[in-house]
């Protein structure tokens, strides 16, 4: 089909252009816009009739002059070129180079929109990934093919934690490392540099592809960036049989860009001005990760979501939590006590932990140790709360034991060094050491056999 070119742009607003009298333009197709001054921009058809087409312009619509604009419908979907050469590269949301090197040339081109994985083709994720971080491995274990976001807030060390996980993550008793797809949306130059330097200094850079859109880059491009990055991840996982870890930061800026465009389109808002389809839109991204029957590679995802005003009920973390397979929640309170990584275990969760741990995967006591630690810590936090009201001196001896446990747990189990890579055995042994401060009868979530084998206390 011939490429159609039009000068009939009729309206420009908030990242959108309307073009009149454009028969037969396909919904979702890619568009090239000339600004009449020698510059071009990329867009996508998001509404189509013969009378009028609505186009989303990835570079934004600032400075566009309606009179001068030319629109070409490229008659193809938004695609990315893929080859093994993408590793080591830095690209933008459309898959174009940002690193000054030549574009990726390949006959393999894939539409970035993706399509839904058939649930009947999925395999349940069950292979334990050791991150070397006790609060994750011991209590919220990550498995291959899981989507486990980090819920954070401004000033909290989510980037350092993500980088530590990238450095340390490995299958137990296996050395094969992950290929990394790094997607940055709306982050600062400094944050992007932090990751680039991290990848370089830990020597993984040639195993990383970075997709970057910085805070001062056009926000609309953030809408396509995670899709482009995931298309690359799918290529690495399913064409090249690699295990891929996708780090996406920051989903909050992604969702804000979506809201901006939705508002310009006049979509009906649901909560806090975000469109009702934010859930489905996020799900289209997050659900691209997983395990598929008879495929050797896998996609594991770790998105960073900063919670506006530290509010976990804000639509972005909330809808994310409704889609992802758990969440690792960082706490300002722990951070203020100087504890790294400041993982607050109570609201943290790994939904896929159950099939990845235990006798054949980590250690037979792991499931119950996790349940018991959670129960003790919950009670310990209540006690700490009580102590803050009535004073620690008023507490019974029993309660004081819980109070001490809360502190030890925060300092020793939660807290660890930024380069401290704890094995799962070390994590579980540390757990037993802390639990052994209690009498046996207080440890009702553990079986008597496990207590007989691992308990180190003298009481009870």
């Amino acid at each position: 089909m011939s490429i159609k070119e039009y000068r009939t742009a009729s309206e420009v607003r908030g990242g959108l252009i309307l073009v009149r009298d454009t028969p037969g333009v396909a919904f979702g197709d890619r568009v090239r816009i000339s600004d009449g001054r020698g510059g071009t921009r990329d867009g996508q058809v998001i509404r189509a009739s013969n009378e009028e087409v609505m186009i989303l312009v990835f570079e934004g619509t600032d400075d566009l002059d309606l009179e001068a604009v030319w629109v070409r419908f490229l008659d193809e979907p938004v695609e990315i070129a893929l080859s093994p050469e993408i590793l080591g590269r830095e690209l933008n949301g459309l898959g174009e180079p940002r690193d000054g090197r030549p574009p990726i040339l390949s006959h393999i081109r894939r539409p970035v929109g993706g399509s839904a994985i058939n649930p009947a083709a999925r395999s349940y994720p069950r292979e334990f990934i050791q991150t070397g971080i006790s609060t994750i491995d011991g209590l919220n274990s990550l498995v291959r093919g899981q989507k486990l976001p980090i819920f954070s807030g401004s000033g909290l060390p989510h980037n350092r934690l993500a980088a530590q996980i990238v450095r340390q993550a490995k299958l137990k008793d296996e050395d094969s490392s992950f290929s990394i797809v790094f997607a940055a949306m709306g982050v600062s130059y400094a944050d992007a540099k932090f990751f680039r330097d991290e990848f370089a200094s830990s020597g993984v850079l040639r195993n990383v592809v970075m997709f970057v859109n910085l805070a001062d880059d056009p926000p609309v491009e953030r809408l396509t960036l995670p899709r482009t990055a995931l298309t690359a991840a799918e290529y690495l996982a399913y064409d090249l049989d690699r295990h891929v870890l996708v780090v996406m930061t920051d989903m909050t800026y992604y969702a804000e860009a979506l809201r901006e465009v939705a508002t310009a389109k006049g979509d009906v808002p649901a909560r806090k001005g975000y469109p009702g389809y934010l859930y489905s839109d996020l799900a289209e991204i997050y659900e691209r990760c997983g395990r598929i029957h008879e495929r050797h590679g896998s996609i594991t995802m770790m998105p960073v979501v900063s919670m506006p005003s530290d509010d976990i009920t804000h639509p972005i973390p909330d809808l994310t939590g409704y889609i992802t397979e758990g969440q690792i929640v960082l706490s300002r309170e722990l951070q203020n006590q100087g504890i790294y990584p400041p993982v607050h275990i109570s609201p943290s969760l790994s939904r896929l932990m159950k099939d990845g741990i235990g006798k054949d995967d980590t250690r037979e006591d792991h499931p119950k140790v996790a349940a018991q630690l959670y129960a003790l810590y919950a009670r310990a936090l209540e006690t700490r709360n009580l102590a803050s009201i009535i004073g620690a001196d008023e507490l019974s001896e029993r309660d004081r034991r819980y109070l001490k446990f809360a502190d030890d747990f925060d300092q020793r189990f939660v807290g660890q060094g930024e380069s401290e890579d704890r094995s799962i055995e070390a994590t579980l042994n540390l757990a037993w050491e802390l639990m052994s401060a209690f009498p046996r009868d207080a440890l009702i979530r553990l079986s008597e056999t496990e207590i007989a084998k691992y308990y180190q206390g003298d009481s009870g």
């Binding site: 037969g24 979702g28 998001i46 399509s115 839904a116 009906v268 649901a270 489905s280 659900e287 909330d318």
Partner: protein, 598 residues
């Protein structure tokens, strides 16, 4: 119905909403759109134009592409071969789709719900003979669909007439004709092993049935505290991570329903995989057969097209009603009805309809009520009583129960299992909050419990809830003035409540022994906790210090007991109760002796 259809064309594409120019099309009719043949449904008409919601992504569709009406509304195929399958939101078989289109779902695939090649052994109904008049629900014969489920081949609800021919026993495919009837107009109609039914139209039945029978789920906080009846409607609201899906999956695994329909409506792909991979291994505690033999799945995961998500609930319900019409007790789990409501909202938003609350259209409440109304216990035409129990998960944004979907649902349902983030954060599972949850079926369930298990069920339940309420009060006091302010009796009340929470209410789905708990074991555990508390209190009353009791190793045992003994080992729980009795008795004797010695 199937007169010559006009061809039309696409005018506008706005995401899943496509406007077509097609005179003569009807509201609700199925439409094929574009070169790919995407399927959709007409949701409104204006002049020559019809607005269609499409069940598949419209990427690449152009104005001017063809559009064609199919002549029927969204329907499902009802016949043998549904059980054990996983369908998408419009009843396409996902396993076959995977064979045909690989790991990702290709668009425009038109695969029928039922296997056309498979042969079923049909056994004609011996009581039927040509010349007899037959009508809705007449059982033409049976097919053994799985080891335990006998599939009754029913005359469709909209047919009556005289039976002119009934096929002999033998192997038939679903499209083979197994009977003929002559209708009132004298037309001959042939009947096959399956028929189609439009999903938005409830299947008729003789009348509602008021019989009472509890849905036993094997989950203590549900059966013993907030019971559900067969044919009831219930909701499980809760923030993310609180345990909605686990509650639903536990009911799917362990309830005493004959048929389980699990609808994954806009939720995670891996949760369906979990069911798909584990149910063929797990044994049904009632029949000893594999769970998958009585289960069917409808999957429209969160990343699948949103319009088919709206349809998936109706598709599930229609299949549920079909098995009900064979006289079975069906439980349908919808995870999550909030995603269904959001799909409704998305479509109404694209149509520019006026939103009333949080973007939802004004008809949200009535549509929700209509869905739940399809649950119930009925007298079928010819197969005795059957029921559909409908349990919907609700996913309130931010965990806020005052939002529209939760609050409307609450007005409709009879059983409300409210999940609490605080309990879930403390890993108290299931996190069903005993203060805000309710069941309208306690009286009815009590009759069953008193007859089948123990006549003290209702009083024990009340005592336990009272103790938990007391616990909440005392905890408030402790938080104001500290534990020193409490008397020994009050401390023992706290201990008693903790026994109920840890020994009875908490039940881990992951605990192999405790994941299912028979009603007898449920009562034994409840009684163990309460009688321990009661006995202890008599000791405190005569002056035994509470610390003396708290240190008894038997208390830890009472908490662990649920995981130590299976449902077959209720006697051991009663032994433990006796052991605790004896321990208390010897404390009493010792204490009495000390006091006479002094």
């Amino acid at each position: 119905m199937s007169e010559q259809q006009n061809k039309g064309f696409v005018r506008e594409i706005n995401g899943p909403i496509v406007t077509i120019d097609l005179p003569g099309i009807r509201s609700g009719e199925q439409v094929r759109i574009g070169e790919l043949g995407l399927v959709g449904e007409v949701i409104s008409l204006a002049g020559r134009e019809a607005v269609v919601q499409t069940y598949e992504s419209t990427d690449g569709v152009r104005p001017g592409e063809p559009a064609e009406g199919l002549g029927w509304p969204l329907s499902v195929e009802l016949g043998p071969g549904l059980l054990g399958e996983i369908f998408d939101g419009i009843q396409r078989p996902l396993e076959k789709i995977a064979l045909e289109s690989g790991d990702y779902i290709r668009r425009g695939l038109a695969l029928p719900g039922l296997d056309r090649e498979k042969r079923w052994e049909f056994e004609p109904n011996p009581e039927l003979a040509p010349g007899q008049s037959i009508g809705p629900g007449t059982v033409l014969g049976t097919v053994q669909e799985t080891e335990t489920i006998q599939h009754k081949i029913l005359v469709p609800p909209d047919l009556t007439g005289e039976l002119t021919e009934l096929a002999p026993g033998g192997e038939y495919r679903v499209e083979d004709s197994i009977a003929h009837l002559r209708d009132a107009q004298g037309h001959s109609r042939h009947l096959t092993l399956f028929h189609r039914w439009p999903v938005r139209k409830p299947r008729p039945y003789r009348q509602r049935d008021d019989g009472i029978s509890p849905l036993i789920t094997g989950q203590r906080v549900i059966d013993s505290f907030f019971p559900q009846l067969k044919g009831g409607k219930g909701a499980v609201p809760g923030p993310f991570g609180a345990g909605k899906t686990v509650v639903q999956q536990q009911i799917a695994r362990w309830s005493n329903a004959d048929i389980v329909i699990y609808v994954g409506c806009g939720e995670r792909g891996n949760e369906l995989v979990d069911v798909l991979e584990s149910f063929p291994q797990l044994e049904d505690p009632y029949t000893g057969r594999k769970l998958m033999e009585k289960t069917l799945l409808v999957a429209n995961t969160s990343n699948m097209p949103v319009v088919a998500r709206e349809a998936s609930v109706y598709v599930g319900l229609t299949m549920a009603e079909y098995y009900r019409d064979m006289g079975y007790d069906v439980v349908m789990l919808a995870d999550s009805t909030s995603r269904w409501a959001e799909a409704l909202r998305e479509v109404s938003g694209r149509l520019g309809q006026m939103p009333v609350e949080e973007g939802y259209p004004a008809y949200l409440a009535s549509r929700l009520a209509a869905i739940y109304e399809r649950a119930g216990r009925v007298e079928t035409y010819h197969a005795g009583a059957g029921s559909v129990t409908l349990i919907g998960a609700v996913s309130p944004p931010g965990g806020d129960f005052s939002e529209p979907v939760t609050s409307h649902t609450k007005d409709i349902i009879e059983t409300f299992w409210a999940l609490s983030k605080e309990l879930a954060d403390a890993r108290h599972y299931p996190s069903i909050d005993w203060v805000t949850s309710f069941s309208g079926h306690v009286q009815a369930a009590a009759e069953w419990w008193h007859k089948e298990v123990d006549r003290h069920w209702q009083s024990r339940r009340t005592e336990a809830l009272a103790l938990l309420a007391r616990d909440a009060e005392l905890s408030r006091i402790v938080n104001l003035v500290g534990p020193e302010a409490l008397s020994d009796a009050q401390r023992w009340q706290l201990e008693g409540a903790s026994l109920i929470k840890e020994g009875v209410l908490q039940q881990s789905a992951l605990d192999e022994v405790d994941t299912f708990c028979s009603p007898q074991k449920q009562f034994a555990l409840l009684d163990l906790a309460l009688s321990t508390y009661d006995k202890g209190m008599t000791l405190i009353e005569i002056g035994v210090p509470v610390s003396h009791l708290q240190d008894l190793p038997q208390l830890a045992k009472a908490r662990r007991c649920k995981s130590m003994y299976t449902s077959e080992q209720v006697a051991s729980i009663n032994d433990l109760a006796r052991e605790i009795d004896e321990a208390f008795e010897s404390i009493r004797l010792e204490y009495a002796k000390q006091h006479t010695d002094d």
